[in-house]
Amino acid sequence: MSTLNLNDAPAISTAFSGTDAVTAQIVRSRLVAITDQMRVALQSVSGSPTVTEASDFFTGLYLPDGSFATMGHQVTFEAPPVGALIRHLLSSNMKLRDGDRIIGNDPFIGALHQNDVQMCAPLVVDGEIIAWAGVMAHETDMGGMDFASWSPKAKEIWQEGLRIPAVKLVDGGELRQDVLDMILAATRLPAQVGLDIRAFIATLNVASERLTELCHRYGTDVIQGVMVSMVADSEQRMRQRLLEIPDGVVHTRDFLEHDGHTDKLYTVDLVATKKGDSLHLDFSGSSPQAQGFVNCSRAGLMGGVAGALIPTLGFGLPWNDGLLRPVEVSAPDRLICTAMAPAPVGSATVETIWVVSNVVSAALNRLLLATPEHAQRAQGVSSGTMATFNLSGINQYGEKFGLHLMDPLAGGFGAFNAHDGQDAAGPINAPCPSIADVEVNEQKTPLVYQYRRLAQDTGGAGRRRGGVAAEVSLTVSIPEAEALVMTHGVEVPNSTGLSGGLPGGTIAQWFAPGFLNRNDPSAELNDSLTVPGGFTDLGSKPGAFPMRDTDVFAVTWQGGGGIGDPLDRDPADVLADVRRGVVSVDAAFQTYGVDLIDARTGRPTGWDATATAATRRGIRAQRLGVAAETLPLEASPVGPEIAPAGLEAGERWLPLGDRLRAIVSDSGEWRVQTLSGAVLSTGSTKWREGAVRYELPLPERVGRSLHRDLAVVGWLCPVSGALLAVDIHLVAEEPFHDLDLDLGSDITVGLALNTKEN
């Protein structure tokens, strides 16, 4: 991402001052408006629910070299692909002219997977490309061996659907019907894809017309200059933001199980090195590429990085290529995140790309947490997977249909340090998530729901609770259809927490053939929070199976990660959670240590403060394996804003968690200590050296079926028994230090460390 060479670009003045600055702002505003008009054009014409309902698409304007200068608030994974297509075109010998519209969907060029169809349009003035417009969207089916172009059975990318490297679909304004016919012949949904391609062309035409008008009005130089300056401004502000964050190395890992063929565990490993105003992301420690369709290509890796980086560090900044320029990504070929042919990549977006996004999010939030200015916005991982439910067959109107259910977007948001994560908020790659009404789905498609509700106890427990996910139970209203079910995150708690917060609940997928033939099945389903008898656990990737109108499929999605020890959660918040039904009475006691009053009525009215303090102390003592009386009854507030007690004059500190403080003395000596005063490390932030290791049992909804290759470790404050961190690690390897700040002299000079006074 940092490899773009702007030296090749024509010399354009990017310095605006005085009245030029006003013109520049007006042009900027017009460019943003044009980008939004592209969105409107696409959503007006498209017939794909992924576009019209879920905003799973991208529109943007690009510099001549393929850097995007604007993007809408759309799926952030999709920021890099069209630029990659443009760069591919620039390096090819294809002769381009005004009115050309080029189509592509090749994962080894820029696409995330073949479903992501991209189109771009060069804007040519006086024989020179002065800008590009780009658009892409997820198409439900682009051919291949199975409906939806992703098949758990696939072993080669050639089985997964049509691949279009870069082809002129519109040549100088003339549609090439022969090319369009060829594309539509490859898909199972030619009407839908045909309409969407029409929408792409309309979108590019809108952009092209408006950009041309703008060039006539203000001059091509001004438009180009503004576009270049937009990217340069965002880059400069991103670098400034990086300077605010301490230098250091963060090591994070996430996993995905099952490649469609075997329940093998794959690792995505990230070593992120933040130095000065740049960031290096090294994925070299990840697993080799898989035999099945869970891989992503290098283009997918870039999508996953952008997907997490843009929202996590780009808050308050205009979103464009400038945000990605300070970032360098490295990884050898043929890893699960840099797969090469013949590796299939059909489910890349919801498998490896998603997990890449999880590890980037986890790493960047550890850095934000250690930055006093931004610590409050540090967040646990949000909905660490998106489970797929596809259905195809002949619908209730006698038409051939295929649906890609968007409801699984309704995972929980990771908790923030300052407040709980939102329930059913969606993943971080979707700035404006949306799902259809139950009624709309039942009217358009042959689905019948038994419930769509918040899933109790799926929010990662913590001082700040992760958002709970939603869950649905459904059948079909037609005699039979073919379902395709697949996900990761059944055996991996991907939505990890921070500061000792627990991961969010894992995915659960169940199937009960003939269930609706029973007496009053809906009451049975609704009465039970655990799935009733007759249901089979589908695991993570059952693949395709027939579904009849008496069968029931039930799925619970992942909640968001929590922040801080659950025993530090304000009992008033736990009470409110129980009254809302998002936390069970059992979890309130067992996980949060709160003794509720009138708990068994389902509408508790308060909590017993004395009993709660004792219960919590008991749990902490049990973790440490000591007698309860030996521990203090904790009552002091915790959180990254709380100053450690007993600082010496001249000592300054950074928060590393709710209870962890990196403290530097007047003479420059560093130590990490807990709020309870236990010093865990000196001279480095590798504080696990001094913490108590503990075999943490995960709650049922989180650890129901942990993958056999995974284990969980909790790290405790030796004085209080409070949970400082939760590590999910390979059984075969020891947990590692996740944060190693560079404690050289720069950190005390450049950063706004807290002092005793504040």
């Binding site: 009245t19 054009a41 017939g47 407040h419 939603a470």
Partner: protein
């Protein structure tokens, strides 16, 4: 609790020469428009009071003074009292509405919590959408503890999958009773296709909670999509007790003043309904203020013989635009307020957070105007009420557009030096501009924001702005309209003398209009043509909406009835309302689809439609209306008074233009002045740019031509 106000047997006969009053309660001012039997018009403003009613009564006293009558004398002669208020909206936004419970189908009680995932980002706009830390600020309309589920289930075809379990309903009602709710909303899945379950639930709730205000979703928002239907029904229930109390009190106070005319309430759909109709469905009045403003533009267009109108209203915090095509305002079904999606038939209003109070700031070398607003308090820097951040009003003052001593005749002397200082320090310095250059920069960014919105509702929807007439309203509208016209290539704009009280004018003049809709889903797969059975389905639905709509009109014999169906291409997002006769046959339905296709291409561009995907007919709607007869306008206007010459910056900040200043309360017809000049009207300034001109007509409307640059 059921509240009723008297439903008049017949409407007042407005053809006899009675006085008409229109009132609109905004956040800061209560506006009033008054017209005498001979057509003389007046507008006045009174501060909005906490109880709202007092502010309205104060405005009536002021109006009587203006007309030279005693209050009782005027009130006795009033034959029409139109009223719009933001009472409901404020109650909803500030959580002061009634304590409300929601009853849903079992398994779907989290409908408001999940909110289609849209609630989390509902309050966010622009760059804030990229800041996830800001999400989730809008709580559900009712807390989860007040949502109870009942055992029942109906499917999409109206078949019962699980019969209603009355014991579960009683249990639900008892829970809500124990919680002490004042209102209950009932929204069951597919109640639109089989309302019997909701009706049965309502009977039980009425028995157990006899005092509670009840709303059923199939009545309040009969459309498919349970989130918006539940939100709308819940909001309606929450507002019911408040609206009822408010209208009773208003009616009592007006009666005490001697007014016998019934209160006609404005609705979001544009038009007025008897107060009783709003009492049972207050949610229909939530966005009535902006809608009345568009309706005012529509009726001005009707009087002027102009079918295509763009209305613009620039208030303190927002810029609102309405579009009237061929004499009819564009409508939409879905609106968002209080962070929730609602299904309320509404005039389609596009809005952006840019107004007279919008704050200008420079961040990272980028100048932005709005969406943050200084509001009425502390207000712009020049108000001297504690505002420290420069606003667009401060910029207008520095540019010479506003007169420091005559602003809005509100008695405030504006502090030009403070405004200039703030602009220079906070905008000028970071950009390397002096105060006047920076003020012009603010104005240009502000105007660009507004013209982008105008562009998006015209050009981007297939309308050529040059075929429209812009009607400028609101405090800052008439002073910025010239720049928008030049930006969009429009010849000029109109400023009615009621410019700063357009919503009140709309309330006083709108047609009576009630609507009724119901779902009527028909899927026409690719290649199929409408059959007799389809026509019968539609005719059956229209029969019930016609009956419903006529039942809600006081004087059905004189009402005009029209019908439409909502149609879309299968799979696409946008539907259009297309005309349909009341008892259609298959041929009528085919013709309707042709009209749909033609309209669709017009709006979304040639080739946007895709008949190969097939059609979906979603619902039908009947509208009963009774038009307000045209009134004679008599000029009670004045000649422009020339106040002098001031330096005003138009294009070049270094070369201000010597600009003549005129003033007038209500312009007399037949006058023409040439730009550059300013015309001070009560509460606003009309800016006529260099090379432009302004002429007045007998209705007091100022026709501004912006001229060639």
């Amino acid at each position: 609790m059921t509240l009723t106000t008297d439903i008049p047997g017949t409407l007042p006969d407005e053809t006899t020469h009675g006085w008409s009053i229109g009132t609109d309660v905004g956040g800061t001012f209560t506006d009033l428009w008054l017209r005498s039997p001979s057509g003389e018009s007046y507008v006045c403003k009174s501060p909005t009071t906490a109880d709202v009613v007092t502010g309205v009564v104060n405005a009536v006293h002021l109006a009587a003074d203006l007309a030279g009558l005693g209050t009782q004398e005027l009130c006795a002669k009033v034959q029409r009292f139109g009223h719009g208020t933001t009472v409901g909206l404020n109650a909803l936004l500030t959580g002061r509405s009634a304590k409300t419970g929601l009853i849903t189908t079992r398994g779907f009680g989290d409908v408001l919590e999940i909110g289609r995932l849209r609630r989390g980002t509902a309050s966010l706009k622009g760059m804030d959408l990229g800041d996830y830390f800001l999400r989730g600020q809008v709580p559900p309309l009712v807390p989860r503890e007040l949502v109870v589920e009942v055992n029942e289930r109906v499917d999409a075809n109206g078949n019962v999958l699980t019969p209603l379990d009355l014991a579960s309903v009683e249990q639900a009602a008892e829970i809500l009773k124990a919680e002490g709710v004042e209102a209950v909303a009932i929204c069951l899945l597919w109640a639109t296709e089989r309302p019997e379950h909701e009706q049965a639930v309502a009977e039980v709730v009425a028995r157990i909670l006899p005092e509670a205000f009840l709303s059923m979703s199939h009545v309040i928002a009969p459309s498919v999509g349970e989130y918006a239907r539940a939100s709308t029904t819940t909001a309606n229930a929450a507002l019911g007790p408040i609206a009822g109390h408010y209208l009773l009190k208003l009616e009592r106070e007006l009666r005490e003043l001697g007014m016998t005319a019934p209160i006609m309430m404005t609705t979001s759909a544009g038009g007025v309904v008897p107060a009783a109709a709003i009492t049972s469905s207050p949610v229909n009045g939530l966005l009535s203020g902006p809608a009345s403003c568009v309706v005012a533009g529509q009726s001005l267009g009707k009087e002027q013989g102009l079918p295509n109108i763009l209305t613009m209203d620039v208030g303190g915090t927002s810029f609102d635009v309405g579009v009237v095509v061929q004499g009819v305002p564009l409508l939409r079904e879905a609106v968002t307020f209080g962070g929730a999606d609602m299904r309320v038939p509404s005039v389609d209003i596009a809005s952006v957070g840019a107004g007279g109070g919008s704050i200008a700031s420079v961040d990272g070398g980028i100048l932005s105007v709005g969406p943050r607003s200084a509001g009425a308090t502390p207000g712009p820097v020049c108000y001297g009420k504690g505002g420290t951040e420069p606003t667009t009003t401060d910029a207008d003052l520095v540019l010479g557009v506003l007169d420091p001593e005559a602003f809005s005749s509100g008695g405030i002397i504006l502090d030009r030096d403070a405004a200039a200082r703030a602009i220079e320090e906070q905008v000028g310095r970071p950009l390397g501009l002096n105060a006047v250059e920076a003020a012009r920069a603010i104005r240009m960014v502000f105007d660009t924001t507004m013209s982008d919105l105008l562009r998006s509702v015209t050009i981007e929807r297939g309308h050529d702005p040059r075929e429209f007439t812009l009607v400028a309203g609101g405090g800052s509208g008439p002073s910025h309209a010239w720049a928008l016209c030049r930006e969009l290539g429009m010849e000029g704009f109109l400023v009615p003398a009621t410019a700063t009280a357009q919503s009140a004018y709309g309330a006083g003049t709108s047609d009576l209009k009630t609507t009724s809709s119901r779902t009527s889903y028909i899927r026409l797969s690719s290649g199929l043509t409408p059959q007799a059975e389809h026509a019968q389905t539609l005719a059956h639905a229209l029969a019930s909406t016609s009956t419903a709509v006529l039942d809600s009109v006081p004087d059905p014999d004189h009402a005009t009835l029209t019908h439409s169906a909502a149609v879309r291409y299968h799979g696409q997002a946008n539907h259009l309302d297309v005309y349909l006769p009341q008892a259609p046959n298959a041929g009528d339905v085919t013709q309707m689809l042709s009209r749909f296709e033609a309209d669709y291409e017009l709006l979304f561009g040639a080739g946007a439609g895709f008949r190969e995907a097939g059609f979906e007919i979603l619902s039908v709607r009947s509208i009963a209306s009774r038009s307000t007869p045209a009134q004679p306008s008599a000029s009670n206007g004045e000649l422009f008074e020339e106040l002098g010459v001031r330096q005003v910056v138009f294009e070049d900040p270094d070369v201000p233009e010597a600009t003549r200043i005129y003033s007038c309360r209500w312009p007399a017809g037949g006058q023409t002045v040439f730009g550059p000049c300013l015309i001070n009207l009560p509460g606003c300034v009309v800016v006529v740019p260099p090379n432009g001109s302004a002429a007045t007509d007998d209705a007091g409307v100022i026709h501004v031509k912006v001229g060639i640059l």
